[in-house]
C-alpha cells in the first residue's frame, strides 16, 4: 500500500483546516451558499435529497483494514450506520451534517484518506482493476502507474478547472475489469521490447452521450508517460467545449474533431511539454512501485480445497477468482444480497470485512466498480473459514457476475438529479430471480441500472441496462440490451418504449427467456444477443 510522506500528510491536514474555516464562515453567515458550494464540492460534500452527502476517495479502490475500520466508524458516528460503495470505487455517506464534515475529514486524514477531487471539474479519483497485484492474468501491478497519476493530478493547478470532470482508469490485464474504455482516459499497461508502457485510449464515457474511447497511442514508454498525459489534458483544456455543459466532456471533443486530429494535437503539444522535463526518473517509479510489492506469500502451499459443504462449493465456484501465487485465491464479497441495496454495507459489515482482511488477506481490501469488495490475497486453505465468517455477517451471497449482482446508482431514493428510483427495481429483479440455481443457469449476466441519463449506474454498459426516465411525472424505465464495459466493450441499444416498475421486471425476464431458448453451446447472454440481434428479443418483450 502507498504510504503518505510528510508532504502528503501536511497538504491533507492543511486542507482539512482550510475546509473547517470555510464551514465555520458559512455557518456564521460570512459566505453565501453560492460562494460556499464550490468549496464544499471540492471536499466531496454534496447536498442531496435528504441531507448532505460525502463522497470519500478510495484511490484505485485499495484499502487496508485500518482505513476500512475508519469507514465503519464514520458510518456509525456521523451517519446512519451504513455507507454506499460506488461504481468509481469510492464510498458515499448519505446523512452527513454540515457541522460534522470537517471532523469527518480530520478522522479520515488520520488513516491517510480524504475527499479531495471527488467532485468538480478536475481529475477525479483514479480507478483500476480490483484484482491489481493479485490477478493471474496481469502483466504487472497497474497501481504504481495509478499512484503516479494520483500524485501528478492532485492539486494540479492547470487542471483544477477543466471544461468538465475527468475520469481515468488504469489496467494491466487483457481482461478489463475496470470499464477502462468508458473513461475519459483509459490506460492499459503493456510491454514492448521488454519495457512497460501504456496504451492510451481517450474520449470514452457514459452519461447522455456514451462513447467508447478510441486508441490514441498504442505505446507510450514510462519515460514519456506523464508528459503524454499532460499533453492529452492540455489539448482538452484548450479546446474542450466550455460553452455547453452537455458537450464539455473530452469524449465530445475527440468525437467532433476526430481521433486523428486529436492525436496530432496531442503529439504537437507533447513535443512542447517534453521540453519541460517533467517526467520523473525511473528511480521515482521504483520507489512508488516498492509500496505495491507483493506481500510475503508463503510457499509450498497446497491448492487443494475441501468442497465438502455444497453451499460453500457454490460460493467458491462463483465468487473466488484465480490468484497469481500458488495456494492463494481472490475472494469477492458480494454486496448484493437478494432484496438488499446494491453497494450498501452496514458499519458492522464493514468492520467484519476489515477484520477478514487483517486476518486473512495481508491487510488489504479492494472496492470494485461493480460495487463489491475484494479480499485480494487469501490462502486457499482459509477459504472455508472466511466463507463461514462472511455467511455469519450476511455477506456470502454467491452471485458474482450473475443477474442479481446488479450495479445500481442511488436513484430517486437519494439523488436530487434522478428521474426514477433505481434500487427498488434492482430489488425486484433480484427477487424475481432469487433462485440461485436459476441465476447460475443464466450464467454471466451483467445488469446495470441508472436513475437518470447521467448513467452513474453504467446502464449503457450492461448486458441488460435499465434507465429511469420521467414520463409525465411518473417513473418509467427503458430497457437496453447488448452493452459491455469489459474488454469486449460495447454500448447497449434501447429496445423500444419504456415500462412501469413491474413491467420492467417482466421485460427483463422475457429477455432472459429468449436467451435460454436461443443460446448456443457456451454462449453468455451477451454472446447470444450479439449473434441473433435485437429482433427476437423485441418480439418477446413487446409481441
Amino acid at each position: 500500500m502507498y504510504k503518505y510522506d510528510e508532504y502528503d500528510h501536511s497538504i491533507v491536514a492543511a486542507r482539512v483546516e482550510e475546509f473547517r474555516d470555510q464551514v465555520n464562515r458559512r455557518l456564521a453567515g460570512q459566505i453565501t451558499e453560492d460562494q460556499f458550494k464550490p468549496l464544499r464540492l471540492m471536499n466531496g460534500l454534496y447536498l442531496q435529497l435528504h441531507a448532505y452527502m460525502l463522497r470519500v476517495a478510495v484511490p484505485y479502490g485499495t484499502l487496508d483494514s485500518r482505513q476500512m475500520h475508519m469507514l465503519a466508524h464514520i458510518a456509525r458516528k456521523y451517519d446512519r450506520g451504513y455507507g454506499h460503495f460506488t461504481t468509481r470505487q469510492n464510498i458515499q455517506y448519505n446523512w452527513i451534517k454540515l457541522a460534522d464534515a470537517p471532523d469527518i475529514l480530520a478522522d479520515l486524514a488520520t488513516v491517510e484518506m480524504h475527499a479531495i477531487q471527488t467532485s468538480g471539474n478536475c481529475i477525479r479519483n483514479i480507478s483500476s482493476d480490483q484484482y491489481a497485484g493479485a490477478a493471474a492474468d496481469e502483466l504487472t501491478d497497474p497501481r504504481p502507474w495509478a499512484e503516479l497519476l494520483r500524485q501528478w493530478s492532485s492539486f494540479h493547478p492547470e487542471f483544477s478547472y477543466l471544461p468538465r470532470k475527468f475520469k481515468i482508469a488504469v489496467i494491466a490485464a487483457d481482461e478489463d475489469r475496470a470499464a477502462m474504455r468508458l473513461h475519459d482516459i483509459g490506460l492499459q499497461v503493456v510491454e514492448r521490447g521488454g519495457q512497460h508502457g501504456v496504451a492510451v485510449y481517450v474520449g470514452g464515457g457514459m452519461g447522455r452521450t456514451p462513447m467508447v474511447a478510441p486508441l490514441i497511442k498504442d505505446f507510450v514508454p514510462f519515460e514519456d508517460f506523464l508528459s503524454y498525459m499532460e499533453a492529452c489534458l492540455r489539448v482538452y483544456n484548450r479546446y474542450g467545449r466550455r460553452d455547453n455543459i452537455y458537450k464539455a466532456r473530452i469524449k465530445i471533443l475527440v468525437h467532433e474533431i476526430g481521433a486523428d486530429k486529436y492525436r496530432d494535437e496531442v503529439e504537437a503539444e507533447f513535443a512542447e511539454v517534453k521540453k519541460l522535463d517533467l517526467d520523473p526518473p525511473r528511480a521515482e517509479f521504483d520507489r512508488i512501485a516498492a509500496y505495491f510489492a507483493p506481500p510475503p506469500y508463503e510457499t509450498g502451499l497446497s491448492d487443494a480445497i475441501d468442497r465438502g459443504d455444497p453451499d460453500f462449493a457454490v460460493w467458491l465456484d462463483q465468487n473466488v477468482a484465480a490468484h497469481k501465487a500458488p495456494g492463494y485465491a481472490i475472494v469477492n464479497i458480494s454486496l448484493k444480497p437478494v432484496g438488499g441495496i446494491p453497494g450498501d454495507a452496514s458499519a458492522d459489515q464493514i468492520d467484519v470485512m476489515a477484520d477478514l482482511a487483517r486476518d486473512y488477506s495481508f491487510d488489504e481490501l479492494r472496492v470494485t466498480h461493480a460495487q463489491n469488495i475484494v479480499l485480494p490475497h487469501v490462502r486457499k486453505a482459509d477459504l472455508p473459514a472466511i466463507w463461514q465468517k462472511l455467511a455469519d455477517a450476511g455477506l456470502a451471497e454467491a452471485n458474482l457476475d450473475l443477474i442479481s449482482d446488479i450495479i445500481a446508482c442511488p436513484g430517486l431514493d437519494y439523488c436530487s438529479l434522478a428521474n426514477a428510483r433505481s434500487i427498488p427495481v434492482a430489488q425486484k429483479i433480484a427477487q424475481r430471480f432469487s433462485d440461485l440455481g436459476r441465476q447460475r443457469e443464466l450464467g454471466e449476466l451483467k445488469l446495470k441500472i441508472s436513475g437518470c441519463i447521467n448513467a452513474c449506474g453504467h446502464h449503457h454498459a450492461g448486458h441488460i441496462g435499465i434507465l429511469g426516465v420521467d414520463r409525465k411525472g411518473t417513473e418509467n424505465y427503458q430497457l437496453l440490451l447488448g452493452g459491455s464495459g469489459a474488454e469486449d466493450v460495447s454500448l447497449g441499444t434501447i429496445t423500444g418504449p419504456g415500462f412501469s416498475e413491474d413491467g420492467i421486471v417482466d421485460a427483463v425476464e422475457k429477455a432472459t427467456d429468449v436467451y435460454l431458448r436461443e443460446r448456443a453451446e457456451g454462449e453468455r447472454f451477451l454472446d447470444t444477443y450479439r449473434r441473433v440481434g435485437m429482433a427476437p428479443f423485441k418480439e418477446a418483450i413487446y409481441g
Binding site: 455557518l27 435529497l49 435528504h50 441531507a51 448532505y52 431514493d413 434500487i423 411525472g473 417513473e475
Partner: protein, 98 residues
C-alpha cells in the same frame, strides 16, 4: 397549493415552511401563495434554510402532499429504507410516496 421547502443549513434535514418557521414534517407546510420566492430569499439570507424552492402540492385530509414524487420521497425518506424514514415502521409509508 404552493409550499416552500429546503434543507436545514446545519443538519441538511429536509424542512418545510410552516408560515412562521420550519418543520421537518410536510403535514405542517403552509400555503405560501405567491409569496414563496420572497420568503425563500429572506429565510436563506437569515441562514435558516439552504437551497429553498417552491413546489406544487395537493391539500389532503392528512395535510399537504407534494405533487412530484421527488418531493414526496424527500418528505418521507428513502423508500428502500423504511427504518430510516421520518415515520419509521409506518406500513403505509411506501404507498404514500408512490
Amino acid at each position: 397549493m404552493r409550499i416552500l421547502t429546503g434543507n436545514d443549513l446545519v443538519t441538511g434535514d429536509v424542512t418545510w415552511w410552516t408560515g412562521s418557521g420550519w418543520s421537518r414534517h410536510v403535514e405542517d407546510a403552509a400555503d405560501v401563495g405567491d409569496q414563496g420566492e420572497a420568503i425563500a430569499q429572506a429565510e436563506e439570507g437569515a441562514r435558516r434554510v439552504n437551497a429553498p424552492y417552491v413546489i406544487d402540492a395537493a391539500e389532503t385530509a392528512d395535510g399537504p402532499r407534494p405533487a412530484h414524487i421527488k418531493d414526496r420521497i424527500r418528505a418521507l425518506g428513502p423508500t428502500v429504507r423504511p427504518d430510516l424514514t421520518l415515520k419509521p415502521a409506518d406500513p403505509n409509508a411506501g404507498s404514500w410516496v408512490i
